[in-house]
Symmetry: D4
Subunit: 214 residues, 8 copies
């Protein structure tokens, strides 16, 4: 496994990360890490690597875009002094362009998305030894769907930023695409965004594979 | 308007019709006709044709397939002695094939759908002077999406039955396709099935246009 | 239609406008525009004029009088920079004179009503290109009922202000009177103020007709 | 007072009588007599005539018409063996004709109202020593309002039946008319049917005056 | 009646007055005057003296002692500018001495009670034309019960203050004693403090008799 | 201690015994023995006599009189095959005579009380090796209070039955009288019936003393 | 993987299996498979082996012992016609002996446990092609703890039955013992029975390893 | 009894003390002293020593460690001016080391525990005449369990501090050990920390014995 024993991991993102985590910090008793992929990752570490004593913190917040992440980056990411910081963001940046097309002030344009994410990475790299970027996704197999195309564009921006900074990039969209070869999107998420337990397992496995912890 | 004054209309279908209607019969005070397109139709009759005194009853039941309709046809359709009976069914018949692909006992195959709907029409025509069939739909513009293809197949079966029996057919799918030319599916329904107020207006308008009541 | 594509409309008023709209701004996902005539108008634009991409915002607040509107005019009307601002106010200004006759400090006298509404119109005209005034109403056919007489007086004041400023006036009271020729007030509103789905359709249609959007 | 010490009074009627009374019998601890005029009457007997030890039972049921009363007459009136039986019925018999005009099966026609009430009185007189009929009412001062006219017609039928059987008739409509000379209907009941505390006091006083117990 | 038309009455006291009144001011729609004797008084004025247009406000607060009244006297009594101010206080001042004997800081000693009440009366008389003091009470017929003795002592202090200032004193304890001759305390209040509907009628009648309004 | 190791005790009675015990049998996890004196007794056995492994079951039912006990005696007492059966009953038999004096059908007269209790004891003695009768009580020090006198009468009847059958009698009334010498009834129970934690400790101690288990 | 594509697996057991599964059958939309190890197994199949289309049903019922399983075996196991039936039972059989030691009728003795489990296996083997027995467990590392010793005894009985019938046995207790080498029992389950997300991952992994599906 | 009449006792600690006590101060009506051992102690004083008029206050706060006690010591202990201050603390200081081993910032090390407790005792002794320290405990009979060993270490530190300051020390752990000789830990507390009614009786009796009040 790439993660050293006793490491502290912080996952930050939107509702797909959040999943009813505890406030203000998603760590502790009574399901504080939430009910989604972060809990699956934490459970996996405890069950498969109990001797590593990995520490997992969930800092997802429903509805967040990269602009929202920036506003709470100091308190919710850096102040927690993670050894690993895992960022999955972009779904809401794109979604509002399609479900609320007339409320343009809620849209995060590609330029803003790319620039803001780059700022966060630049600011964080000197402070956190390991940073992981996980792509936003849309559980829609039709790549010519307008929102899928847009999501792929944002995923591409994240991939470029990861490459530029030499930071690992986990392609969650690709992981879902693999599963969509075998089942319809509706078997994972009615709204093609919020996954059921199968979809959260897809995300958790993609992350764990990326850190050689499966 | 094609509907005579003092006519009684019964709408029967699934959750898209239901929308929290009253039980056992969706008619009366305190929003008994539900919060969906049936309420829009009833409101339109009252506001635009107050002198017609049209009577509207909502008998939708969430989750229903055509097989479920058959089981309650006597009590929930025929016993109410409607002048007009409006049937919109088929979404769940198809949907379960995609969101619960392994639970095949929940799937209503095309043969079953066509045969059952035909039986209901045959049985009803001698008893109800006006019958209207409204197509099932999937608010998905990509016609090669597996579930959209399937839904179109069921819509086609309904259209054939309507033609065979000389009964009006309202193409709700086509109505949605017209709107999807201007906005993404997510602006109408996150799950591409349960419409917001815009989608319900689409259905209501399609019906009202079909009976020359717009 | 008189409304240009991509226009932004703000509706402001009392509980008849409010209908459980979202706070602080009644626009967005999950029924944010409320459950009343504003939602009907928004649904109509989306379904009948999808290419126009009209934007609708509900800023009604239950219990408001014109004096309450004045107190929140800057934040709740002007700051939203609407292209069209639609104002329906006066029901509570009058109602308290009849249901709480002894609490005179809650009554808005005709002088106050007229002067305040005039101030708001004067202040708004240079800032908002299109302003619409919609009359308060009482769903009471008996014009000699004391409260109906009073409501007509307030509607008359609004009409004068509209005329003076060259602003369109929508006579909602007249729209209800037309329907009351065919049904008793109790078929629209037990309290003769808060309409059911038929009454909200009456209001929506009156507005849509006034802007040639029906 | 016309009521002998230790008498048992049963009040039967609709929602105006009911007012959250206990089930199955509205008598006992914790507000079992409800929160309306029956509680006012019971409180008055206890406070003003404590030595009389009058017993009061509330058997009102919301939504009831005279047809509903007939269906439960044996268990809810006669089986309780009252010394006095007080009946106030007719509001719903009339109201449904105006708020749900198209659902004619819910309407109780004058013929049905008169015949059924007459049957109940005929059946009860040999069994209950004192019977009191209290008129239905509509808190609407405009006597040419269609529903007020209809209500007056039903009140007239009740009065004829009372006269024919030599049973006291309490004119609750007249009591309300007296108060309406001083305040608008909205100060008593927004829907002109369900009274506030002032309206319940009007009913209680009319009954108490009729039995010389004020 | 001693109360002039259009007078405004404010009732202030403890939980016996409060009875779920509205906040911050107990006046208005939807049962704002509470469910106790204040509502009975207001209902009586409306029903028996509708032409007087008496205005009633309930400012009772559960748990209050005379010390608590003093703390909110300006905002909750004087600022409301009543024509009549009716004060019923003292039950909690005494009760805590018996149900929480060890928490002496919650007890209001007779000296404090008398002095504080006197201060309030002194301060109020120049501002309010009519002041009424209503005795605290304990629905306990045994005058040698320790708490009854204590309550009588406080009632006596109030009576002296009323006499000294020439203000009417309503002996609620005496009113209850009259009723207790006919029924056990348990038929009015299990805890001998919070009355049921009979007990509230006793209080209301005592007040109404004192102002010649019965 | 008079109770042999591994004995099973069943307590049966009214709300004072019940205290939210589990249904249908008040024994087991999660506070199944309730929150009153039965729990205190069970806790005491576990803490002070852990080696005795005494088994405690709570079969109290709120509102019960001795007539209600009789109706459920087979299932709720005998079928449980207790080694000890402890009965505390009579409070409601008396209370209804005072709080609902007019509902005489709810009153259990002394004759009925004595006869029914005697029947239960006679029927039970051959089947249960140890029977204990615990007196009903009224936490009212004034022995000339009508309800206290009545309660003493019922306690006296129980004592006679206990003596006649040679069964232990625990005088709970006397235990409360002892405490009432030091504090007012209000410090134990506002309604003089349902004790707080001090009153439940009084009952538990009286029982434990009677079986030499304190 | 040992499990053939399109196999149907039914998991049956107690609260550790149940975890809020749907009723009457734990399969379908909206988390019907519960929130415990069954959901983890189902999610793993969907994410790691999507082409296998494995079908998973949760039939756990909180509080069950092997005796309870027997009572519902026909409807809840055999009637579902599983290809694989996975049974984890025994925790409550043992637990009640320690948390409710005096309620011996709730205890399932080793003889009953062994005999009943053997009956179920004998009855099931001809009908279900694959049967898996999973040991009960106690997350208590101290093997001389009385309850742990007892649980090991029951696990041993299950192992013998598995061996005798040639059925796979999954040693869940051993899986937990492995993790307990690295962390205290409190990090998995405060009550040492109901696991958190780490403990459920331990169970899921033990099962998946046993069928070569990890 | 060692406690003088009219003494005021304050109990401070964690969730074992708290048990739903009232806020901000756990004293007064309606179960303000909570539902745990403090209520048992208070009930015992009232029932067994009613003439002593002992005053009991519960200031436990769930989740507290000795560090949390220090932060609220002035307001929650000293400002209440107790005659006796009883402190039971340490369970959470230890527990977090075992249930959340990776969140080391939540752990209170032995040094911190000892030093902080010593500071509190030093600061309090001049102000409070009687101080009692009650040991933290773990209802785990296996003394080689890691958490039990740790708890014993903290109990030992407390004992040393008590000895050093000449303050009574109540060994609650020893009291539980005595009971554990007769029943499994699960019969007192599933999580071995939060006791049922038997466990609370163990604590109450240990305290009462220490002050000669049993």
């Amino acid at each position: 496994m790439k993660i050293a024993p006793r490491s502290k991991l912080v996952f930050i993102g939107d509702s797909i990360t959040d999943c009813e985590r505890a406030r203000p910090v998603g760590e502790g008793l009574f399901g504080a890490v939430g009910k989604g992929y972060v809990a699956l990752v934490d459970g996996h570490f405890g069950a498969a690597h109990p001797g590593h004593a990995i520490r997992v913190v969930n800092m997802g917040t429903s509805g967040n875009t990269v602009v929202d992440l920036k506003a709470r980056w100091q308190t919710d990411a850096l102040d927690l002094k993670p050894d690993w910081l895992v960022v999955m963001i972009g779904v809401n940046d794109v979604w509002r362009q399609f479900d609320l097309p007339r409320q343009t002030e809620l849209h995060v344009a590609p330029e803003t998305y790319g620039r803001t994410l780059d700022e966060l990475v630049t600011r964080t790299r000197p402070l956190v030894s390991q940073l992981v970027l996980m792509s936003p996704f849309y559980i829609e197999p039709n790549r010519s769907d307008a929102m899928r195309r847009r999501m792929d564009e944002y995923g591409g921006l994240m991939r470029q930023i990861a490459t530029r900074h030499g930071v690992p990039f986990v392609d969650i969209q690709a992981a879902f695409d693999g599963v969509l070869a075998h089942m319809h999107a509706n078997a994972i998420a009615w709204d093609r965004v919020h996954p059921n337990h199968i979809g959260h397992a897809v995300i958790a496995r993609a992350f764990l594979a990326a850190v050689d912890a499966l």
